[in-house]
């Protein structure tokens, strides 16, 4: 008999139908992965099982756990099930823990709230599960507070809380999305180990198809609140039925062809750059200590070249970007663009600045919500001595919008009228409008859904053709970097540990860190397309 059985689950919030007849089955010891693009209803399905839906939500259909119907279970009995029979792990480890309670208390709470065992024993159990998730109490005492742990460690605590009572069902909603590739690999390993060890069933929600392919016994693909396809992993990968599923997998491994690099004139020269941040003082009059975010970085970027920069979160990628843009002074070394320093004296160099533009990660945060698109994308005109006016200005706007696949009419709209992908197009238009010689992409596609990401990568390739772009592409997503760059640098703790032609680095990494990074990254199996 199956552990969890969802039949014809429909859900509406007010007038919106969020889920439409979702079916899903999960057996003990099995991992079922639910995937699909953002907003497809993955989280809502999970929350429905937990009966932790938003207050206004109305659910119909049937959700059975070991034959027990959950939808019409009274709240007290549901409370008894949560934590005891069903455990749940959430996406954001940074906020999923109560900041004012120790991790020991929080893990023990799961046990104590169900009166499963007396406090002394509960504490013993807490130690045990924390050890199991890789936080042995001799190194991570129960008295630690969440803020004293890293993101990955916090996620382990959340997992420990969820498995403390060995629930039959574990629900994990994007448990690794917020984590580094290496940490992600460890956490996924841990989850898989727990499932086999305890014989739990796991409902795993993720939009990362590589993870899905790696881990799941069964895959459920959702779109707009409906299950479009479901099946055993190996079978589904080989025989995709639904075009949406195919599109999803195709887009995840999207490849573009870049035009060849013409001549190799050096454009950007970064030599031995060091950027220190002053740490908060530990003692009142002690000498300030420094955190070295960028540590002796040197490289050259040639005109027409597409350079990648990869590395874990916090390794200093964005800091380097800001230094190159001349937004912050560096403590040592020089950054020359076309032979001129970006920072002269203590002031940014305007003449150099106008040769550079940037595209940021967050499609929602990178625009002033109060300005219209025309004003937004012409902001870089401020760098020009004689900015275009009148008809010339509107022509440039129209040209740029068309170039990034939007319509000139969009100039009069506000940013909230656009989707995430469209916004990123606008961001690219803004970067291109003064025809800079260098563009920096700082995680420019990381926040986008796979299909949208594929479109943006296509757009970039087209633009390379049309405008002969030179760019530095920063990302933690190795697959993307691999296809969109000619050369790549690997950064670790502020240092560039390896650089070389992209293909060479990916196929034959020299540095152990690069190797580790590549090994940790989940990879999509080669999918034999069009068999069906």
């Amino acid at each position: 008999m199956s552990l969890l059985e969802i039949r014809n689950l429909s859900l509406s919030i007010g007038a919106h139908d969020i889920l439409k007849g979702v079916d899903l089955t999960l057996g003990p010891g099995e991992i079922v992965a639910v995937t699909g693009e953002s907003g497809s209803g993955k989280s809502m399905t999970a929350l429905a099982v937990m009966q932790l839906l938003p207050q206004a939500a109305r659910a119909q259909g049937s959700i059975q756990l070991d034959g027990q119907e959950l939808l019409d279970l009274p709240e007290e009995q549901m409370c008894a099930l949560r934590g005891q029979s069903i455990g749940m792990v959430f996406q954001e480890p940074m906020t999923a823990l109560n900041p004012v309670k120790t991790i020991g208390d929080q893990v023990m709470e799961t046990i104590l709230i169900h009166k499963a065992m007396p406090p002394a024993q509960a504490e013993e159990r807490a130690r045990e599960v924390l050890t199991r998730v890789g936080l042995p109490p001799d190194r991570f005492p129960l008295s630690r507070f969440p803020h004293e742990l890293s993101g990955g460690q916090r996620q382990r605590v959340v997992i420990a809380m969820a498995i403390a009572l060995r629930p039959r069902l574990l629900i994990a909603d994007e448990p690794t999305t917020a984590l580094d590739v290496t940490t992600q690999a460890q956490i996924l390993d841990l989850l898989q180990g727990l499932v086999t060890e305890y014989g739990m069933g796991m409902l795993m929600i993720t939009h990362d198809l590589a993870v899905v392919a790696d881990l799941a016994d069964q895959i459920v693909v959702m779109r707009n609140g409906e299950v479009v396809e479901t099946g055993h992993t190996r079978h589904l990968l080989r025989h995709m039925q639904h075009p949406y599923t195919q599109m999803l997998f195709e887009a995840s491994d999207h490849q573009v062809t870049l035009p060849p690099v013409s001549d190799l004139q050096p454009l950007l020269a970064v030599a031995d750059v060091v950027r220190d941040y002053r740490k908060p003082r530990t003692r009142l009059f002690s000498k300030p200590e420094f955190h070295r975010a960028v540590d002796g970085v040197s490289f050259t970027l040639h005109r027409g070249e597409r350079l990648g920069l990869v590395g874990e979160s916090g390794c200093g990628k964005s800091t380097l970007t800001r230094a190159i843009l001349g937004l912050e002074e560096v403590q040592r070394g020089h950054i020359l663009l076309d032979g001129n320093p970006v920072f002269s004296g203590h002031t940014p160099n305007r003449a150099v600045r106008r040769k550079m533009q940037v595209v940021f990660q967050d499609p929602f945060g990178s625009f002033n919500p109060r300005h219209k698109v025309d004003r937004l994308i012409t902001e870089p005109f401020y760098l020009l001595d004689t900015p275009p006016r009148g008809a010339e200005r509107s022509d440039r706007i129209a040209e740029m919008l068309t170039a990034v696949g939007l319509s000139p009419d969009d100039a009069g709209k506000y940013i909230h009228e656009f989707s995430g992908g469209q916004r990123q197009r606008i961001a690219i238009a803004r970067a291109l409008i003064i025809r800079p010689e260098l563009i920096l992409f700082d995680e420019a596609v990381s926040a986008l859904d796979v299909s949208v990401r594929a479109q943006i990568l296509d757009l970039l390739a087209e633009l390379c053709e049309a405008y002969e772009l030179t760019y530095l592409f920063i990302s933690h997503d190795l697959n993307v970097v691999r296809t969109i760059t000619d050369r790549v640098m690997v950064m670790q703790a502020g240092k560039i540990v390896e650089q070389g032609d992209t293909e060479r680095v990916f196929t034959d990494p020299q540095h152990p860190y690069t190797e580790a990074l590549l090994a940790a990254a989940p990879r999509l199996p080669k999918i034999t397309q069009g068999v069906a």
Partner: protein, 271 residues
């Protein structure tokens, strides 16, 4: 628009309307004494009765609204005019000595018990509307400085500010072009609330005799005058009291409504 906003706006507009109307028309001359007819309860000729000098209460309440609004409005204006630039500067220069000085200065003003200082200021420089405005205004400065800085700081973290910096814009320009419009909602809401607090403060100062001077009517002074007569002429205390309560209530409801309407996420300090 929420019920709060509609009700609050209606109530506040009523008060503003009464104040504006009082410039052109009041039922009686609000300064005209009629001692033989003093302390009359509300009746057909004097809708809200007469005070201890026989003056028409309705006329006085209408003209008093003028005083309350003027004092509170100008005080809020002072607070905004000085506080917002300070807050913007502090945020733009986060962590610098300038930020430190501005914020410590704010803390210092906050540390002074506002009413004591207001009393001191008016006692020293003389009672009167102008000094009341200054006294109330000074304590509005740190409120606006703090709230502006707080909101601006989080905006400075946003990527669109980074984009503006990449476009070569300086801190002053960014503050004016990007930060200010984005904190405007917050300031409007806080302004409404400070406005209502200003009305209460003016009433308090006038109550202790340090607000607008006679013959300019003021709700607070009407209350002070009424104090000893509550037991035999309760309308003298009830009417100005209700005027204050309704005005403040209206403004607060409007502030809350505005906040929900303009942006449900913004935070407003209510102290």
């Amino acid at each position: 628009m929420s019920r709060n906003l509609i009700f609050g706006t209606a109530l506040s507009s009523l008060v503003v309307l009464a104040a504006v109307l009082s410039f052109v028309w009041t039922p009686y001359d609000h300064t005209a004494l009629d001692i033989p007819n003093k302390l009359k309860p509300p009746n057909a000729t004097h809708w809200l009765g007469t005070d201890h000098f026989g003056r028409d209460m309705l006329s006085m309440i209408m003209v008093g609204a003028r005083t309350s609004i003027a004092v509170a409005l100008v005080a809020v204006g002072i607070g905004m005019a000085a506080g917002v630039p300070l807050g913007l500067t502090a945020a733009a220069r986060k962590g610098s000595w300038l930020d430190e000085v501005i914020m410590r200065g704010n803390d210092l003003v906050f540390a002074f018990p506002s009413l004591v200082i207001a009393i001191l200021i008016t006692a020293i420089f003389g009672a009167g509307a102008i000094n009341a405005i200054i006294a109330i205004g000074i304590f509005n400065i740190p409120v606006f400085a703090r709230i502006t800085r707080g909101a601006a700081l989080s905006l400075w973290e946003r990527e669109f500010i980074m984009a503006a910096r990449v476009a070569g814009k300086g801190a002053a320009r960014i503050s004016a072009e990007h930060i200010l419009p984005n904190v405007a909602n917050l300031l409007i809401v806080q302004g409404t609330i400070q406005f209502s607090l200003g009305i209460l403060a003016e009433a308090g100062l006038s109550y202790v005799g340090l607000g607008a001077q006679p013959p300019t009517p003021s709700w607070g002074r009407m209350l002070a005058d009424a104090q000893t007569m509550v037991s035999f002429a309760p309308h003298l205390a009830l009417i100005p009291g209700c005027a204050i309560i309704l005005t403040v209530l209206g403004l607060n409801l409007m502030g809350d409504g505005l906040r929900d309407w303009l942006d449900p996420r913004i935070r407003v300090a209510r102290t």
